[in-house]
Symmetry: C2
Subunit: 208 residues, 2 copies
DNA sequence: GTATGATTCAATCAATTGATTGAATTTTTG
DNA sequence: CAAAAATTCAATCAATTGATTGAATCATAC
């Protein structure tokens, strides 16, 4: 950090912590690993955030909030329309996180991992995560009921879980896959979204 | 452990380690947590397995091997047929792990978690995992080429990843979901397999 | 300028971590 | 039974963990 010097310490810690939590998980991340890379004092974490747990919470807060808000905003615009379509609901769900991650370049890549990894964290992390995503999940479940009438409650839930798992799959595997099979790590938002929407639409509607 | 006394120490450690790795991940698991629950000496781990890493390897070995072997065996029986169908390939992939887990009762539930969680482990764990599943993955990729001609290499890979993600989703979320929405945690192998096969077949074939 | 509050720092805490040692014990072998 | 091998044990190691303290430094307001 030479020019544009002295990014605010709190933000700096947050940035590094985000990457560490994404890569190593909550248990695998050490405060010392973070503060060493961020080049700050250990006490700074306690001062600005409190505990390791609080730090994790701050990381989630910063990144999940804008995604969920955008998803819900997009969803609201869809469900007021006369005849909502499943593809539009799914696009409203998939595009915000994908677009955000794409726009963030390298940081986006670690956020991908974070999003995938945080789904398998234990308590108390799990509740922390769920708190942020539960309202969004419920809204989309309701919307699916509109566009896919006649399914059982169980069907809705599994459809939603599958929908979620596809994006988590993309987010966590994208780097691995493109490294394994291609020289080119580039991907386009529209390609990915339409791939996800396509697979999921078919799965939900045409599943015999 | 009162009757049927004295399960072999090595197996005993393996059982407890399996559950701990499943729940807490590699980093979150402590040898002391394991040996305390298994009621054995710390040195027993070193004696029977070596390091913590070696122990993890032993856990994978024991559980992944029979699954992969059964998957490949089922696959071989399918691809010799005159006209292979996608549904049959998918069933060959999905049924073995699902059936195994179901047959194992409570231990199966933790194995579910393990299978899901191990997918997001870091090196050197990741390579350990990949080593066991890579041959299987390659075989199924080849088979998909037979039943879904005309797709790009990229398409095959993402289809395979999505196929994988659906079962990982089921394995890791099943307990959470059924706890959230129903009183009944029971599920039938055939129901689950046909749900997975149905969703995935549609996603692969009818994706516009 | 100086006082007040915000921030950073080095030093240290007790607890836990994976791992190892060598003796004690059990089991197997001849 | 006795020798040998396999297994278990308590004790301990150095390293790392999250967290805290009180002094030092910085920024801001008056």
């Amino acid at each position: 950090m030479k020019l544009a010097e002295k990014k605010d310490t709190k933000t700096h810690i947050l940035d590094v912590a985000e990457r560490h939590f994404a890569i190593y998980g909550f248990a695998g991340t050490t405060l010392r690993g973070i503060i060493k890379e961020a080049d700050v004092n250990v006490a700074a974490v306690a001062y600005h955030f409190g505990s390791k747990e609080d730090l994790y919470s701050a990381v989630i807060e910063r990144f999940a909030k804008p995604v969920v808000e955008e998803q819900l905003s997009r969803l609201r615009k869809e469900i007021v329309k006369r005849n909502v379509k499943l593809t539009n609901i799914l696009t409203a769900f998939y595009e915000p996180p994908i677009a955000l991650i794409k726009s963030m370049g390298k940081r986006g890549a670690t956020l991908s991992l974070f999003l995938g990894r945080c789904q398998t964290e234990q308590e108390p992390i799990y509740s922390m995560i769920d708190k942020h995503f539960a309202p969004c999940r419920d809204q989309f479940l309701l919307a699916m009921r509109q566009v896919l009438p006649g399914l059982s409650k169980k069907d809705y839930h599994w459809n939603f879980e599958f929908m979620l798992s596809l994006i988590v799959c993309f987010l966590t595997r994208q780097q691995v896959i493109s490294k394994r099979y291609t020289a080119n790590e580039n991907w386009q938002v529209d390609d990915v979204v339409s791939r996800l929407v396509g697979f999921c639409t078919a799965g939900m509607q045409d599943s015999k």
